[in-house]
Symmetry: C2
Subunit: 221 residues, 2 copies
């Protein structure tokens, strides 16, 4: 968790102040002036940190998307697992401060324009996962990348939404769901026994051919 860069303390204060005002008096009825004054910053500071009122609500996602991009770019032995770990990083970020996350959720739910922007934002994670998988596994059928990215994103959002609605959801719930996703793609390493002298490679039939190739190459070099 400590690895995830946070927005500066100043902008975190602005986000908190804005969300509180949005929740109390409504998103539409809240002006930038009110937010700036509640957060103790100038109007121009606000506009330097955020493009507008909407951007305050989605500031965390910008930070997280950059974090996920950087995390994936580090290089990972198992790209499928890396995507799942990226999803867990995002979940942990919101779970670390559920009150702010819930306040944001309740604001977003009430404003159609914010709901739509959230759908678009969620899709940016999905596309990021998709692109990463295609790059990390040359020759991977795009259908496999697209499908796995969508599955992980959907599962992640469902578990996160439960948290945001007030449920106490442990990270283990998400992890189990992501393991399931990998199992469906035949890319969850199982902890079956291994022999010392003979290596027999067994791959589930539903594992993408490009992934089989990648794993064999990894073993043989």
């Amino acid at each position: 968790m400590s690895e995830i860069p946070s927005p500066s303390a100043a902008s975190t204060d602005v986000v908190a102040a804005a969300l509180e005002l949005f929740e109390q008096q409504g998103f539409e009825a809240t002006s930038v002036e009110q937010i700036a004054s509640a957060a103790g910053v100038s109007r121009s500071t606000f506009f330097r940190q955020f493009g507008g009122k909407e951007d305050v609500v989605f500031a965390d996602h910008e930070v997280l998307l950059n974090d996920v991009r950087a995390y994936l770019a580090r290089g990972h032995a198992d790209p499928w697992r890396a995507v799942c770990e990226a999803s867990e990083r995002v979940f942990r970020h919101f779970a670390a401060d559920p009150d702010v996350a819930r306040r944001r959720y309740s604001v977003v739910r009430r404003v159609p324009a914010l709901r739509e922007r959230e759908i678009v934002t969620v899709f940016r994670y999905e596309r990021l996962f998709d692109q990463y998988l295609r790059e990390a596994i040359p020759g991977l059928d795009p259908l496999e990348a697209v499908g796995f990215a969508a599955l992980v994103t959907a599962v992640h959002n469902h578990v996160l939404r439960r948290l945001l609605r007030g449920e106490r959801v442990r990270i283990g719930v998400l992890r189990a769901a992501l393991d399931d996703a990998r199992r469906r793609y035949g890319v969850l390493p199982d902890d079956a026994g291994n022999a010392d002298d003979v290596v027999v490679a067994v791959f589930p039939r539903r594992m993408p051919a490009a992934e089989v190739t990648r794993r064999l190459r990894e073993r043989l070099t």
Copy 2:
């Protein structure tokens, strides 16, 4: 294909005229007046048929979403298959008139606001599939419904996008990808032999428990 209700011939003409203008002179630069005059309808007729310029672009999706909703509501012996068939219906609709579909795609790609609205529209199919599965299979773990709906939608869009980019894509490509999706969820009926006297029910371990129950109940009543 003939089962899918089409927008009235009049509104189809307006859509075609609008897409042609959008492609020639840009979405922003095209006025409602120009569309109405090119399509030979009055401004008030235009506004009666569509809420605004953007709605012309997404008019087909409104028709298709209603068609999918009605199709799923008919009741189906195999809900997983019904979702895949709904996806095929949507694909067939666009494949039947690829020129108009490609023109729309090229307009949407160039206008960020339209791209975002498309993402939101795609999500409406996903949510429809998700809700249908939960209703059709009582007790189904929402994670299974959410994941399968996302997988089908993502796979569908990938194949459709290939068509819209000018590739000749047959419906069989989509069907194979949707079969894969069902296989990953253990819900693709296989055509293995069947005995006459003894019924042995074998279910893949990864099949959702609620789906096993549903199938057993169906057999035993």
